[in-house]
Every structure is written in structure tokens, then in C-alpha cells.
């Protein structure tokens, strides 16, 4: 916080005393309300002169049905900008209140390259228009969708919508919307000397690892332009948050980055715990870290195998999936679940570690480093693999930051930014590990960084094994959900809390908080707003894959179709993480 103290004075000196109204939030991120007219100036000042180079997130809240007054809510909508400063190691949150029902806001897509998709998402979800946006169209919902889902009047359940009927003219409309017209995507059919070929990669394609469509504009096999069409995997995770209780939303988070498992729980719960003011015991922290790192290994193994497969190597994926199976055996023994264990709870974890967990972990620690070494010679040292990945899909550190790239992809450009080190959460400051980086920022370096990360994860897990603290696996706090069962049999208060927590769900005090963790693919953050109810008022999930995918056109132009697959493979995205 101290790094950021001067920034309010700077801003006030520049734009006038009364321009900004500060707000206190539970996560202690500097939060300022600013007027609509000054958005561009302020943001451009923050980016260019005040060292906030990364647009971390851009989202909105429909404020119209909010119960409690936060001092600023005669507004119908709020637009929220989250910026990150590496230099100051701090976030800043800027809010703009909007009064109309269908407001218009100046676009900042000329200021940040990655604002483009975020603004389209806000338009898609809220119907807020951005003036000056180059291509303001729906991004996650189908183009024929009526309404804007995250507006409070939009139904959350199919049963609120009335029976579904597909009339002939609706069929025609849907069919014609499916027809591909290059002009709608801003693509020219021909240049001066060639007619371009348009190739749909996906939505069903073995190389996209999920339902992703990439429209390629090709000149021979050279990519002139590539446009990702996302949203096929959109399940309304943010909307669902608004009707689930704080507790019952946890399993939904598992499925956002479905390779990250409990790591998603952690991102969500860190924000909830900030709101509730829960301090978790050390044992909980270490258990959480251990499982998160196991999942980091599991996720990287999937990436490793499929990446090798993308460049045509058939065998590694089998070895890596059987190693992932070994990770899942541990996860299963501890959590009962495998891919989506849904195992962290508000203020703790679901159960204590089972008897004999040390042995399982130790076996894996003994087994896995040898395999990693084998994979080095199988994949990383393979000359054909190098030929396919070295020098492909290069971006620099500056470009990465401009596009909102985080995680291993950013570290492959040589920037050692890792939230586990820079803004330690869940006790990561207690661990001794390194942040692997690479130099060139190409596909090969991204691979190197991830492989090195698996080794660091092993180090962390080993430290967890050796230094597992004693104590309770749940915090002693009234909002811990569910509270320790054995206490419920001792006194009526705990029994009632337990009953309410399980039936209604806990009531989290009003406020807002954002968490940010170093997930398997980059910075994952949950920005939660509570109006003092049993469910969140707004859940915003900032996922790393979304900006990464947005960068795809920028880094693929000029390469060939075969390179596109290397680039996609090295990017390590998950469709559910993009579309939520």
C-alpha cells in the first residue's frame, strides 16, 4: 500500500481536487471514483506517466437492484477498471458511475490493445456501448441473442424465460447468422494480387483443444489474419454466481480453468475470506498451497503432452497423462475428487489430510523428477521439436504487457513477475522457490518456463511435506462454512450457524474485494461484490486465457497454418477459462 500512497495526490494535482472520490474496500486496493468525461485522460495519464502499464481487468456492475448503499449508488451501472503497476507492485481500481439504462462510455481500446475484447464483453453482457470502439459486437453470446445476460432483469434460469419455441423465421435467422461473410469480421476477400482463402479452424478441430473457432485468412498457407471466435464454451459462470450461495458457488469455480482444479477455489475463496475478514490457520494455508502446486503440475503435464502432440509427436502425451494420473491418485486420496475436487471451503478445507498422505507425496517426489528429465530428452531436446517452436510466435515483454499477458507466457519474455512472489497469498512467502524465466519469448521458451515451473512446484510440495503445521483445518470464525461438525454437538450456537450455513448459506458482510493468484495459466482474479446477502451481488472472474487468446491475431500474422498450432499449443489456454 505504501508504494501507492502518492498516487492520489498526483492525480488530484493533475485533474483537480474534486475529480476523484476515494472508496474504502475490503481488499485495500486503492479505489477511486472518477467522472465519465475524464476516463480517457485519467487512464492515459496512469498508463503513460504513473507507471500502470497493464490493464488487468475491465468490467461493469448492474447497480440497480443493489440493497445497501455504498455511498455512490444513485448510479444504474458502474464501469470498473483494474490497472496493475509492476513498478509499484500495486493495483488501482477506477470506477465510473453511469446513470442511464443503456449508457455510452468512451472506449479506451486505442489506449490498451487488450481493452478491445473487455469492452466487447461488457457490451455483450450489459448493453453498455463504447464510443470509438472499432468493432463493438457480441463476443461471448451468439450473435442472435436477445438481451444482455448480466443485466439484473435478464433471467438466470431457463424456467424464468417461458417455453422455448423455434419458429421457421427464427430458424432462418439463426441459419443466416451462421453464414460466413468475411466483411462482418473485417476481412477483405482479396488483395491486389491474391484472392484469399478463408479457413475455419474449429469449432470442432483436433488442434484447438476445445470448442474454439479461429477464422484464418490465408494466402496459400501463410496467415494474413486470424480471428478467434470465442464463446462456444460460455456457461454464464458469472451470472450463476449471482444466484448461488457463497458456499455453493465453489464447485462452479472448479470448472472455470478445468485443469487448475482447486486452484480456482483458492482464487475465489481468497476474495470471500477478505470480504468476511477470515484469517485461516497456517495448516490450511499449507494444505492449500500443496494441492495448488499439485494441480499446477497436473495442468502443465496436460499442456506438455498436448503441445508435443500439436507438433506431431504422438507418444509424450501418453507418458504425461499417466504421470498426471499419479498426481490425481494423490488428489483423489486427499479430496475424493479428481479433476474438480471442490475441496476448499470458506475459511478452510473440506477435511483434514488423510492418514498416510505423506507417503503418497513422498513417492511422487521420488518418482517425478526422473520422468521430467526423460521428457527433456524426449521433447525439449528434440531437434524437430525445436525446429517447430524456436523463433515462432515471438512477443516482447512490452507487447505482452500491452496485451495483458501474465503467467508463464509473460515470464518467457524474461520478466520474472509471479504473484506468488510479488504479492504473496496463502502463505507463499513462507516457501523457498525460484521464478523460472526465459529470454526470447517464443514458443520454445514458453515450454522451457513451464517445465522449469514443474520443478519449482515439486520444491514447494516438498517443503509442504516437511513443514506441515499442526492445527485445525478450518478457521475459528463464525462465517467458516460449514463450521467444524464436532462443535455443533457441543453448543446450540454452532449448531444454528451450521444449519443456516448449510441451508441458506453464510451471509457475507457488504463490501467488495478482489483476489489475484498465480494460476496455472497466469493471473486469475475474482472480484466479488457483496450487498450483505447469502449470495454475491456480482462475481467477476478475471481469467488469464482471455487476454492471451485476444493476442492470437497479433502474434500469428505472417506465420503458416502449422505454426498456428505451435502458437496455440504454447499459449496453454483452456476454453472454459476464456469463455467462463
Amino acid at each position: 500500500m505504501e508504494n501507492i500512497s502518492g498516487i492520489v495526490e498526483q492525480l488530484q494535482a493533475r485533474f483537480g481536487e474534486s475529480t476523484f472520490k476515494p472508496q474504502t474496500t475490503k481488499d485495500e486496493i486503492l479505489t477511486l471514483w472518477m467522472p465519465l468525461e475524464k476516463i480517457k485522460e485519467v487512464l492515459s495519464y496512469l498508463k503513460k506517466e504513473a507507471a500502470f502499464p497493464l490493464l488487468f481487468d475491465l468490467t461493469a456492475i448492474d447497480e440497480r437492484t443493489r440493497k445497501r448503499d455504498n455511498g455512490h449508488t444513485p448510479y444504474a451501472f458502474t464501469i470498473i477498471y483494474h490497472l496493475l503497476s509492476f513498478e509499484r507492485n500495486a493495483f488501482i481500481r477506477l470506477k465510473v458511475g453511469l446513470k442511464e439504462d443503456f449508457p455510452t462510455v468512451p472506449s479506451i481500446s486505442s489506449l490498451w490493445a487488450n481493452a478491445n475484447w473487455y469492452e466487447r464483453e461488457v457490451y455483450d453482457m450489459f448493453g453498455i456501448r463504447f464510443e470509438g470502439h472499432p468493432h463493438l459486437s457480441r463476443i461471448l453470446m451468439p450473435r442472435t441473442w436477445v438481451g444482455h445476460p448480466l443485466r439484473k432483469e435478464h433471467p438466470a434460469r431457463a424456467t424464468e424465460m417461458g417455453p422455448f419455441q423455434l419458429y421457421d423465421d427464427k430458424i432462418d435467422l439463426e441459419q443466416s447468422a451462421l453464414q460466413f461473410k468475411p466483411e462482418e469480421w473485417g476481412l477483405a476477400r482479396q488483395s491486389q494480387d491474391t484472392d484469399f482463402m478463408f479457413l475455419n479452424i474449429g469449432p470442432q478441430h483436433p488442434g484447438t483443444h476445445g470448442v474454439l473457432r479461429i477464422i484464418l485468412q490465408l494466402d496459400g498457407e501463410d496467415i494474413v489474419d486470424a480471428i478467434p471466435d470465442i464463446g462456444f464454451h460460455h456457461r454464464g459462470a458469472e451470472k450463476m454466481g449471482e444466484r448461488q450461495s457463497w458456499h455453493t458457488y465453489i464447485p462452479y469455480t472448479d470448472r472455470v480453468d478445468y485443469l487448475g482444479g482447486v486452484m480456482n477455489n483458492l482464487a475465489y475463496l481468497l476474495a470471500v475470506e477478505k470480504l468476511a475478514g477470515i484469517q485461516v490457520p497456517d495448516r490450511v494455508k499449507v494444505i492449500r498451497v500443496m494441492l495448488c502446486e499439485l494441480f499446477r503440475i497436473a495442468s502443465h503435464l496436460v499442456w506438455y503432452g498436448t503441445f508435443a502432440q500439436d507438433v506431431g509427436q504422438l507418444s509424450p502425451v501418453f507418458y504425461m497423462f499417466s504421470d498426471r494420473e499419479k498426481v490425481f491418485e494423490i488428489v483423489e486420496a486427499i479430496c475424493g475428487g479428481r479433476m474438480h475436487p471442490n475441496w476448499f471451503r470458506i475459511g478452510g478445507v473440506a477435511q483434514d489430510l488423510p492418514i498416510g498422505w505423506e507417503k503418497l507425496i513422498q513417492n511422487f517426489l521420488d518418482y517425478f523428477p526422473k520422468r521430467l528429465k526423460e521428457y527433456d530428452s524426449l521433447v525439449l531436446k528434440n531437434t524437430l521439436f525445436k525446429a517447430r517452436t524456436v523463433g515462432i510466435g515471438i512477443f516482447t515483454k512490452e507487447e505482452a504487457i500491452e496485451w495483458g499477458v501474465t503467467g508463464p507466457n509473460l515470464r518467457a519474455c524474461g520478466y520474472d513477475w509471479d504473484f506468488r512472489k510479488k504479492q504473496p497469498y496463502s502463505g507463499y512467502d513462507m516457501f523457498d522457490f525460484e521464478i523460472p524465466t526465459a529470454v526470447n519469448g517464443d514458443c520454445y521458451d514458453r515450454a522451457l518456463v513451464r517445465v522449469a515451473e514443474m520443478r519449482q512446484s515439486l520444491r514447494i510440495i516438498e517443503q509442504c511435506l516437511k513443514n506441515m503445521p499442526e492445527g485445525s483445518y478450518k478457521a475459528d470464525h463464525p462465517l467458516t462454512t460449514p463450521p467444524l461438525k464436532k462443535n455443533t454437538l457441543q453448543d446450540i450456537e454452532t449448531l444454528i450457524t451450521h444449519f443456516l450455513g448449510v441451508s441458506w448459506g453464510p451471509v457475507i458482510p457488504p463490501g467488495e474485494a478482489m483476489s489475484c493468484i498465480e494460476a496455472t495459466k497466469g493471473a486469475n482474479g475474482y472480484y466479488l461484490t457483496s450487498d450483505g446477502n447469502t449470495s454475491p451481488y456480482r462475481v467477476r472472474i478475471r481469467t488469464p486465457s482471455f487476454p492471451h487468446m485476444q493476442m492470437l491475431p497479433y502474434i500469428t500474422r505472417g506465420y503458416t497454418v502449422a505454426d498456428l498450432l505451435s502458437i496455440l499449443g504454447a499459449m496453454d489456454y483452456v476454453l472454459a477459462d476464456i469463455d467462463r
Binding site: 482463402m197 479457413l199 478441430h205 483436433p206 488442434g207 498457407e221 508435443a308 502432440q309 500439436d310 507438433v311 506431431g312 509427436q313 504422438l314 507418444s315 501418453f318 507418458y319 499417466s322 524426449l378 528434440n382 524437430l384 521439436f385 525446429a387 517447430r388 503458416t560 497454418v561 502449422a562 505454426d563 498456428l564 498450432l565
Partner: protein
Amino acid sequence: MEAAAPNYFLIIGGILFALLNLAAALIWIERRMLALWQDRYGPNRAGPFGLLIVAADSLKLFFKQDWIPPFADKPVFVLAPAIVFITVLMSFVVIPFSPEIVVVDLNIGLLFFLAMSSMGAYSIILGGWASNNKYSLLGAMRGAAQMISYEVFMGLALMGVVLLAGSFNLGDIVEAQRGLWFFIPQIIGFFIFFIAGIAETHRLPFDIPEAESELVAGFHSEYSGMKFGMFFIGEYIGITLISCMVVTLYFGGWLGPDFLPPIVWFILKVFFFLMIFILLRASMPRPRYDQLMEYGWKVLLPLTLLNLLVTAGIVLWMGW
């Protein structure tokens, strides 16, 4: 000649029978071997060791609807898989399986083989073109470029053998290896021919016309049922052919110690190379199409020419 006629048909029938069954068996062998190398089981349910998977596979292919996409160019679409099948089978005509077992003892056997394998390129181009599908088209383009360029030094690599043996007749070439198998003096030629052979059969690492993760199934994306089966079996017969050629040209064909009959030696050697084909598939990634071409023209072609030059010089000097 008249007395030889029944024998002649017996040989043709025998070779056809053996080849088609071998191609089917290769499906099973490949899947089992891949599974072995990839830490998994492979087909193991149907029949002993999963052997009946071959029968199940062929039954499935036979009974699938013989579907031609409405947008395809029908006659060409049907013709393409037949071409690959016919040209590959035709090549076997000149291969001496043992001193007695050879269909036609052509004195230009080697040239006949080259001619037939060049024809194979048509099936890829026509198949990809007739499918009227962009993935197929890209696959066909890649396939055509790859096969044409690898054909060039496939032929040139073989010339070293021809120089040493002084004949285009495959039987004579085998006989000429009685003292020394040609893979020792022609080690470079052997490697180049083998690489070109992999490219010719478009197997991993040179499966660029198919390139599953990029082009779905490349030139045969639109094919199903028995037409796909022809491509599929054609590929296996193709690798058998290349293995046979490698054995004939560089590894002494049927030659071997007397305790086994010549045909057994031949089959054993061929199986060794079939295994190498499968092992390659299990272990190598796929280069990019332009890298493959570059490698061909900039590395392999000069090497081939050098090999030919040195061989010719040595033959002249030693008066071989």
C-alpha cells in the same frame, strides 16, 4: 513359358494374398507396438491378443455407408483411392522375394518401381482436389510438393546401387550383394532412400499431407468407408513396399545364411524395417512443410549428388 504358367498365377495369387493380409495384420501390429512403446494396452479385447480387431476393423469399413459428399467431384473422388492401391500393388510385381518368387523379372525393375511410386502422387492430389474441401486441398498441395521433391533424390539415391550392381534388374542387384550388402558402401544412399521412402509413404514424421493436429485428416478428410480403407491399407502396403525395396537394394534381399530358406530371410528383414517405421511414428514430431522441403532440397539433394559422384568415381577407379 507354358509350363510355367500355373506357377505364375500361383505366385501372383500368393503375393496378393500375403500382401493384403499383411497390410491388415500391420494395423494390429502397429497398434500393439505403439501401445507397447506408449505405456498402454492397445487393442486386446477381440480374440487372442486382440487379433480379431483386424476383422472387426475391416468389417466396419466394409459395412459403412459408401458416402460421396454432394460437393465432391464424383468420378475423381472414386478414382483417387483406387490409384494409390493399384500403383503400390503394381510395384510389387518387380520385387524378388526369393530366387524363385518374383512375378516379372524386368530388366528395368528399378525404373518400374520409381515410375509406379510417382504415380502414387496422383492419388493424393486428385483425392484432395476432388473432395472440394479446404483442409483436403491444403493436404493435397503439401502432399504433391513433398512427393515430387522427394522423388527426385529417391531416384538419385538409388543410382549408387545401380552403379555398383551394374543393372536395373532387382534380382541382379540382390545377386551382386553376395559379397557385401550395399548398405555398407552405400550408407548415405541408404539413409537418403529411407528418408525419401518415409516421405513417399507420408508416415510420421513426414505425415504432412495428413497432419492431424493441423489439417484434421488432410487429403482424405472427406473419405469414409472402404474408400478411406483403400487409403488406409494403401499406406500399410506402401510401407511394406518401401521396406521390401530397402531390403532388396541395401540389405541383400533374400540372401542370408543357409539354415533358413531365402524367403524367410527376406520376410525377417522386411519386418525389421516395418518395426522401424512404427517406431519412428512413436517417437518423432512432425517438421513444418517448408522445413521439410528445405531439408530435401538443401541438404539431401546435394548429399545425394555427392554420393553419386563419389560412387561413380570409385567404380571407375576400381573398375568394379
